[in-house]
Every structure is written in structure tokens, then in C-alpha cells.
């Protein structure tokens, strides 16, 4: 038996952060670096420009040290032309992703160890589940010497197994760091049934199961147009997209994108005295 007061959700956030392309998901990470968390980002989307620009700007509201708290590794495969199609020359992203999780090598050669050695002060970010899923499927195809070809049904299944296995690992209690997996939204409808928004991964069977491996599901969303455009982070279900959080009594229904993730982390840890506590506040 264990004391509920000591449950890891009090100090660790395992978050699925979803939103359509351009909703501001990657840029929203800046507030966590500003709040003192160490971000370690697996960048499969090759889209960290916005985060770099936000943190590098002399007028950045996230403080001068925030940039130094972000480590990243961009993982992509070189493409080649096959017939009239572009296909990966070699499928390496899945393998390299797993390798980084087992033994993260920093930009300056420092060894940050595996994710099981990280602390609640650290945040693992995978950007994004969408491309991680493609990487898993490509790995299965490459393994079968069929890279670039139409996947067989068993390939989909095996790819799903790889993704689900990884999610299970990240949700494991032995992983004490925070985890944020960024994902696009796939709208999937059952036959004659309602359409739901799910994290975009392989097939139709896996997306509805993904949420169970996270204690928080938040969504970034843009509303309005032109100068009235506002970007927010939602913590309660929106439309056909089911969201969830660990502290319904403390968490607000929506947060501003600029500070939202840090605010959410602060809110779910408030009153327990067990959180990592920001080392640097946003200016």
C-alpha cells in the first residue's frame, strides 16, 4: 500500500500536448524553460525555430538563462528519390530516438544519462508523436527490407506496438522526469458514430488508447483572426477533443499560450510543497 499523498502525479507531469499545426505548441515550451525547468527536446519535426527565437530575443520575457536550459536533438532521415516519390534513404529516427532516451548525449558532448536518471526538474519533450509514429512505421518497413513500399497490415500493427511500448515506458513510475509529447490532432469517426479528435498516430485503433498513458492532456488552440487572433492552452475538454488534468480543483480551464505550460505545472503542484520549484521566474 502507498500513501496517495506521495503519488508521483504530485511532482511529475506526463502530458500529451495536442493541437493543430500552427497553434503554438512548440513555442509554448518557452515558459517552462523560463520557469527553471531543464528542457530536453527530441525534435523530429525540425521545427524549433520559434522556440529558439523566443528564448534568444534580448527582450524575451523568459529571462536570459532560459535558453541555456534547453537541450535538443533534431532527428530526421535524409530522403532520396525512388521512382517519382521521396522516401527515406535509411530509417534511423526510431533507433536514434530510443538511443537518446537510453543515453542522452548533450550538445557539448556531456552525458545526461538515460531518462530514468532524470529528475522532476527535467522535462523530456518529444516533438512530435505524429512524426515519431512515422519513424516507427519506417523502422518496421526497413527491418522488412520494404522501406518506401506500401505497409502490410502487420506493419501497422508492429508500428503501433512500438509506439504503445514507448508510451508505456514513459508513463512508468521509474521515469521521474516530466514528459511532454506534442501531437497533432486526427479526427476519427466510428461508423455511424460521432467524430472525435485524437492524437495523431498510427491507424485507428491506437489513437483512442494514447490518452491513457498521460495524466494530463492539454490542447493549444488559436481563435479569432488577424489582430484579434488569440492563442490559448485548454485544460478542459473542448468540442470533440477530450482533455484531462490531474488537479481539477486547481487547474484553470484555459491559460494564455505564452505562460500556460509553466502556469499549469505550477498549479498542479501548488499546495503540496513537493514540486521542483522554479529556480528562475519569468521576468
Amino acid at each position: 500500500m502507498a500513501k496517495l499523498a506521495a503519488h508521483q502525479s504530485a511532482v511529475t507531469t506526463k502530458m500529451l500536448f495536442i493541437g493543430d499545426s500552427g497553434a503554438g505548441k512548440t513555442g509554448a515550451l518557452a515558459s517552462l524553460a523560463g520557469a527553471g525547468y531543464n528542457l530536453r527536446i527530441l525534435d523530429l519535426d525540425s521545427g524549433l525555430d520559434v522556440l529558439a527565437n523566443l528564448l534568444r530575443d534580448p527582450k524575451s520575457p523568459y529571462g536570459p538563462d532560459a535558453l541555456s536550459r534547453v537541450d535538443y536533438e533534431t532527428l530526421t532521415d535524409k530522403m532520396k528519390v525512388s521512382g517519382k516519390r521521396l522516401i527515406p534513404g535509411k530509417a534511423t529516427v526510431w533507433e536514434r530516438t530510443i538511443g537518446m532516451l537510453e543515453n542522452w548525449k548533450g550538445a557539448e558532448g556531456e552525458n545526461l544519462g538515460g531518462i530514468t536518471s532524470w529528475t522532476p526538474q527535467d522535462v523530456l519533450v518529444i516533438d512530435s508523436l505524429t512524426l515519431l509514429s512515422t519513424a516507427a512505421l519506417n523502422f518496421v518497413l526497413a527491418m522488412n527490407a520494404r522501406l518506401g513500399q506500401q505497409p502490410h497490415q502487420s506493419d501497422w500493427y508492429q508500428g503501433q506496438q512500438l509506439i504503445e511500448g514507448l508510451l508505456q515506458t514513459l508513463y512508468d513510475d521509474n521515469v521521474k522526469c516530466n514528459v511532454i509529447i506534442i501531437s497533432h490532432i486526427a479526427y476519427i469517426g466510428e461508423e455511424n458514430g460521432p467524430v472525435h479528435g485524437y492524437p495523431n498516430t498510427l491507424g485507428k485503433a491506437l489513437p483512442p488508447k494514447v490518452g491513457r498513458y498521460f495524466n494530463s492532456i492539454l490542447m493549444a488552440r488559436t481563435s479569432g483572426t488577424g489582430s484579434n487572433q488569440k492563442r490559448k492552452i485548454f485544460a478542459n475538454s473542448v468540442g470533440t477533443v477530450e482533455l484531462k488534468n490531474t488537479s481539477p480543483l486547481k487547474v484553470k480551464s484555459e491559460y494564455p499560450l505564452e505562460t500556460g505550460l509553466a502556469d499549469y505545472f505550477k498549479d498542479v503542484r501548488s499546495g503540496i510543497g513537493a514540486g521542483p520549484g522554479p529556480e528562475a521566474g519569468m521576468q
Partner: protein, 319 residues
């Protein structure tokens, strides 16, 4: 081969406590886990059906083909030449010189024709374009049919002798920066994802992963099943990943102590109880008819329907 003619001394068993196997491979351990009585008959006493299982014969030739192919490639031969060599070897291997006739199998899926076809189709897909490159050892030889033998860390309480784990890895391969153990498995059924799920948990693969770290110092994270569906008109190859996280291997190793203690208990009592819930596994146990008979009639049935051989995991395949 670990299989030796009847009458050959079995060096894997204790001299102090006959019936206690000290050299344990995945076949022996798997047999005991399935049913102690099956283990007694198949491993301790060495009974086997008079006709060698067609599945075993087919598997031996297929594994040999992959091994020979890798050796030929490591010597610098191209795919076509290596395949020619392998086929020549398979043709000779399935020819009974004494009887001047080919190996005759009454199995519609596993016979000489389907063996040759399977070798060609399998190596065409997973030979010349194999993304898993066979590791070349420091002696320049390919890492195929690697025999291993190491102290398990467990000892017999009764005799003080060490239990030794042993076996053979088909092949050690590299993909990117990571090491894998590929292993060929055949089936008569359509392969889907569930086919590969059948290897987790699995005694053989857990032992192989453990051995790769302990003996060969390769940090193997997964095994790769080269699944081959053998049908009347085709052979279809699919590969699947079988993962073995360190925590799973640690659990397997811890429970190994329990199973070895059980083996010792049975040897001390000279009694290997029947697990009558395993009789129907995999199409039915080969000893089902034996165990169905009253104990007084079993020996006669064994002697009429079975023959004896010695299963000695201490004998390496190179021997």
C-alpha cells in the same frame, strides 16, 4: 548438435545426483517449464518419436542455409554465388546416400521442394538487402551459430555444483548503432502481429538476450524474428521485433532460480509430476498417449513407439 546417439554419456547431468541437469539450455528449461513429466521423458530419459520431427529437420536445414550464406558472404562471395552454394549444400543435405533417394517428408508444407523454395525466397528478401548486418567478429568470421556456456550464478543446494546456462545464437546483427539477435521461426499460418506477440514472454529469447550481454558483451535490446510462413504454393517472410527491456530480463533471471530449484527437487525425489493442463499445447504433446496409459503400461508403449537419443547442451554445434 546437442542431440547425440543413445548410449552417449550425457555430460550435462550431475555425476553426484543423476537426474539433475547442470548444463541447461532453452530447450531443457522450456521443457521443464512446460511440464516436468515431458522434461523427464524428452530430456532426462531422451525419448523421441521414431521418425524425427519434420519440423526439426526442416528447421535444421533452414538454419544451416542462413549460416552457410553468411559465411560465404563474409568470405567475399556475392549474393548469387552464396545462394548457389547454399542450395547445393541443401540438396546434398536432403539426399540420403545410403538409400540413394531424397529426404522424404509426408508433410505437405515441409518437404524438400518447399525447403529449397523457402531458402531462395528468404535469402532473396533478407539476404542481399538485409538492413541487419551480420556482425563480423575480431577473427574475421561472421557471428553466426555462436555457442555459449556460462555459470548461471545459481548452485545446486544438494550437490554444491553450479548450474551452467548454454545454447546457440543463430546470428548477431547490427542495425545502426544497435545490436540484435535475429532468429528464424517458421509457421504454417498467416503471419500477423499476433505471431510476433507469441515470443513475449519466451524462455528462449530471454536466455539469448541474457547470454548476449554476459558472454559476448553485446548490449542487445531486442530480438528479431525472421518469420516465414510456409504454404503449399509460396513462402512469405515477415520480420518482427521482440523487445526485452532490462527489467524483464532481470525478472526472468530471478525466476530462473525458482525453476532450477524445482528441477533439483524433482531430481532428488526422482519424480517429475505431470502438468495435465499442457497436454494440448501446440497441437498436442508427443507423449500424450504415453501419459494417458496406466503407469504400468507406459514403458512398453515408449519402447514400441519411441526411440532414445541423448540431449546434451554441453556439446556445441561445432563439435
Amino acid at each position: 548438435m546437442s542431440e547425440l546417439p543413445a548410449g552417449t554419456p550425457n555430460t550435462s547431468f550431475s555425476q553426484i545426483l543423476p537426474g539433475l541437469q547442470l548444463g541447461v539450455d532453452s530447450t531443457s528449461l522450456g521443457a521443464f517449464k512446460t511440464c516436468p513429466r515431458y522434461y523427464q521423458l524428452a530430456i532426462v530419459e531422451g525419448w523421441q518419436p521414431r521418425d524425427q520431427s519434420v519440423h526439426l529437420t526442416f528447421g535444421i536445414h533452414l538454419h544451416k542455409a542462413r549460416e552457410s550464406y553468411e559465411r560465404a558472404k563474409a568470405e567475399g562471395q556475392g549474393h548469387d554465388d552464396a545462394l548457389d552454394l547454399v542450395l547445393d549444400e541443401a540438396l546434398r543435405g536432403t539426399w540420403d546416400r545410403g538409400l540413394k533417394r531424397p529426404w522424404i517428408s509426408d508433410h505437405k508444407l515441409k518437404n524438400r521442394d518447399t525447403l529449397l523454395r523457402t531458402i531462395v525466397w528468404y535469402l532473396d528478401q533478407f539476404g542481399q538487402n538485409d538492413p541487419f548486418e551480420t556482425v563480423i567478429l575480431s577473427n574475421g568470421k561472421p557471428a553466426v551459430e555462436l555457442s555459449f556456456k556460462f555459470d548461471s550464478g545459481y548452485k545446486s543446494e544438494a550437490t554444491g555444483e553450479s548450474f551452467v546456462l548454454c545454447g546457440h545464437l543463430d546470428r548477431l546483427a547490427k542495425y545502426g548503432d544497435n545490436y540484435y539477435i535475429p532468429d528464424i521461426k517458421t509457421t504454417g499460418s498467416t503471419m500477423n502481429g499476433f505471431f510476433f506477440d507469441g515470443f513475449s514472454p519466451d524462455n528462449q529469447f530471454s536466455l539469448y538476450t541474457f547470454a548476449s550481454k554476459v558472454v559476448f558483451n553485446f548490449d542487445v535490446r531486442s530480438l528479431v524474428v525472421d518469420g516465414i510462413q510456409i504454404a503449399v504454393g509460396f513462402s512469405r517472410c515477415e520480420r518482427g521485433l521482440v523487445q526485452r527491456p532490462p527489467a524483464v530480463i532481470a525478472e526472468w533471471y530471478q525466476e530462473l532460480g525458482h525453476w532450477l530449484a524445482q528441477m533439483e527437487l524433482c531430481a532428488e525425489r526422482e519424480h517429475w509430476p505431470m502438468n495435465d493442463k499442457a497436454c494440448g499445447n501446440y497441437g498436442g504433446c508427443r507423449f500424450r498417449k504415453v501419459c494417458s496409459k496406466p503407469p504400468s503400461q507406459r514403458k512398453a508403449h515408449l519402447e514400441s513407439e519411441f526411440t532414445k537419443r541423448v540431449w546434451d547442451p554441453f556439446v556445441s554445434r561445432e563439435a
